[in-house]
């Protein structure tokens, strides 16, 4: 299967920051959709040849249509007064150009476009363009602009409305195996979310073109094996090491969330799914397993990063999360039944099994936060200007099978501040159950859709059978996609 990386060489955040202003759009259009990927089907109009009787054209029925001009072009396809689309930004952006997608479904496009870039009132640059297809990239590096004005001067067919579906501030580039080298993807998860590992993509680009790249932080890179999306990663570091050579390090959505501050707050029976959405927004969508729909959290999330806040919630409710195979974050209960088989014909020779020492007990600290100043000796914290008395107690789960020769090995969880008297026993039991799974199988497989978190059944190098959850995949992207996987085995 052909491997590829799709690099969105775009100005990160420009799409959500963009304010689209135009008085030249039809009343049923939504120009605010222009920075986003919206596809418009062929729609019946009274323009010439726009009511094809083959069923492919649809009636206008509340479809999302970013932009059709109010006026039609003349018999030569020219507008006497060109429709204008103005886009303003709160921040300044630098891009190598602007990508316009007109109307691929009908084959309509503009043959003459003028784009002007501004920094406030100062005109930075202006280009007269002659697009020749329904998708067109205007290559023009402009630094620190915060306004773009686009004039649609003419259409490729006479008597047509100007149609624009999508405006991207940058360009989407696809790299195949002939341009990338040593692509490694590390995807990990923690089944009980006692930590929230950041998945990474490291790759080397040996570009065949003379284009100079300016890899910008948080630009997305999608990794594919064939048509299967392995994951979406965001640039965290880029280094040019030669005329056409770049070393790029990317992190997943959790890595991005680790760069944002999350302010301390006290929660009382707050819906956990809503809180997870609150934490991840506006950057990422969160898909949450329905079993967590009505679960609530109570306690404190201290000042921390958004990733740490996300981890506190997941740990308290017993959920895991992954960014594998998606642009956002999936929150789910790790499966423990109906394993998918990884057959011997996909397991490379070799492998090993690690066994953790016996855990003798698990101690989880539960927390309460009561409004007030308490009495002498009480620990009082202040959150959002409100004082709370902080009290703790410890829940212990002891391993009944410990023998006199076993070394004491106690797991303690003290800083999970959404663990409270109501969920402490459940959390402690969950942590204990996790640590009773002492064996981790390491093996290398040919990947066939496996993802971290999957519950699988497979064989060890000595042909015993193991069931468990995949907790990590180190993938070397190539024409055959193979991963070094780690499976947390069920049972002790």
């Amino acid at each position: 299967m052909r491997a590829k990386l799709i690099y969105k060489d775009i100005a990160p955040g420009a799409d959500v920051d963009a304010s689209v202003i135009t008085s030249d759009a039809q009343s049923f259009c939504s120009p605010a959709l222009l920075p986003f990927d919206t596809s418009v089907p062929p729609i019946i109009t009274l323009e010439p040849n726009m009511w094809l009787l083959d069923g492919s054209f649809k009636l206008l029925r509340n479809q999302d249509i970013p932009f059709w001009s109010k006026q039609m072009s003349d018999e030569n396809g020219v507008f006497s007064t060109p429709p204008v689309i103005e886009i303003e930004f709160d921040e300044q952006y630098t891009t190598f150009g602007i990508y316009l997608r007109f109307s691929p479904e009908t084959g309509d496009y503009c043959t003459s476009v003028t784009i002007k870039w501004y920094q406030d009132a100062t005109l930075l640059d202006s280009k007269n363009l002659t697009p020749t297809s329904v998708s067109y990239f205007c290559a023009n590096k402009v630094t620190a602009f915060n306004k773009v004005v686009i004039f649609l001067n003419a259409t490729n067919r006479p008597h047509r409305y100007a149609r624009v579906e999508n405006i991207i501030f940058g360009i989407i580039r696809e790299f195949g195996a002939d341009e990338f080298r040593s692509v490694t993807i590390l995807q990990e998860l923690d089944l009980i979310s006692s930590e929230l590992p950041i998945s990474t993509l490291n790759w080397l680009l040996v570009s065949k073109s003379d284009i100079e790249y300016i890899f910008q932080l948080k630009q997305p890179v999608e990794a594919y094996s064939g048509s299967n999306l392995i994951g979406v990663f965001y640039i965290s570091e880029a280094k040019r090491t030669g005329p056409n050579t770049y070393e790029i390090t990317c992190e997943d959505a959790l890595g991005v969330l680790d760069g944002y501050f999350f302010p301390a707050a006290i929660y009382s029976e707050y819906n956990a799914a809503q809180l997870l959405q609150d934490i991840a927004s506006p950057d990422f969508d969160v898909e949450i397993d329905s079993v967590f729909e009505d679960v609530t959290v109570t306690g404190l999330i201290p000042d921390c990063t958004k990733r740490e806040a996300f981890q506190q919630v997941l740990f308290a409710i017993g959920a895991a999360c992954t960014t594998a195979g998606r642009a956002g974050i999936k929150v789910f209960a790790p499966p423990a039944e109906n394993p998918a088989e990884i057959p011997d014909c996909r397991i490379y020779v070799g492998g090993s099994m690690e066994t953790e020492p016996i855990v003798t007990a698990v101690r989880v600290t539960a927390h309460t936060y009561t409004p007030g100043t308490g009495s002498a000796g009480d620990e009082v914290i202040e959150v959002g200007g409100q004082k709370y008395v902080h009290k703790t107690f410890v829940v212990t789960v002891t391993n009944p099978n410990v023998t006199a020769t076993d070394k004491q090995n106690v797991i303690t969880v003290e800083t999970a501040t959404l663990v409270n008297p109501n969920n402490a026993n459940e959390v402690a039991q969950r942590v204990y159950d996790y640590f009773m799974r002492r064996h981790t199988l390491n093996e290398r497989i040919v990947v066939n859709g496996e993802q971290p978190g999957d519950y699988v059944i497979t064989s060890t190098p000595w042909d015993t059978i193991v069931e468990g959850n995949i907790i990590s995949m180190l993938t070397i992207l190539s024409n055959t996609t193979a991963s070094d996987i780690r499976i947390k085995a069920k049972g002790d």
Binding site: A177, Y348, V349, T480
Partner: protein
């Protein structure tokens, strides 16, 4: 007409006395044996490599020296055109070594010959679809 071209230059006075073609279907890091004994391939592509032994007896000293300088230049690669099937193949090839012999020295003229050189493909000429 020259049997081969190097960097778009023909050498009509240089004849090829022996031309060997070989191919190498190279695997990537993910190739290996699985537990049931099957080989998992991770084909990067097919590389066609050429070895030549040249007859330069009809080339002038200047032509020979020019060819030698090109072949032994410290460049990453050359663009070569060589026979392939019933047509020709143009590809980027690197050269790491070659050899020739000093055949005679007369009147301050050094006559070199029996030049041999290997062209190794820089990148696969064919990649899996």
């Amino acid at each position: 007409m020259s049997v081969f071209k190097i960097d778009r230059v023909e050498y009509p006075s240089v004849y090829v006395t022996k031309l060997t073609r070989s191919f190498n279907i190279l695997d990537g890091e993910n190739a290996g044996r699985v537990k049931i004994g099957d080989m998992v391939r991770d084909v990067i592509g097919t590389y066609y490599n050429y070895s030549m032994e040249l007859d330069t007896s009809e080339a002038s000293l200047a032509e020979y020296d020019a060819l030698y300088e090109v072949l032994s230049s410290p460049d990453d690669y050359h663009t070569v055109v060589v026979p392939y099937g019933q047509t020709t193949l143009e590809f980027k090839a690197y050269i790491t070594n070659g050899d020739d012999e000093l055949l005679s020295m007369e009147n301050k003229r050094n006559l070199w010959g029996k030049l041999k050189v290997n062209f190794i493909a820089m990148q696969p000429q064919r990649r899996p679809s």
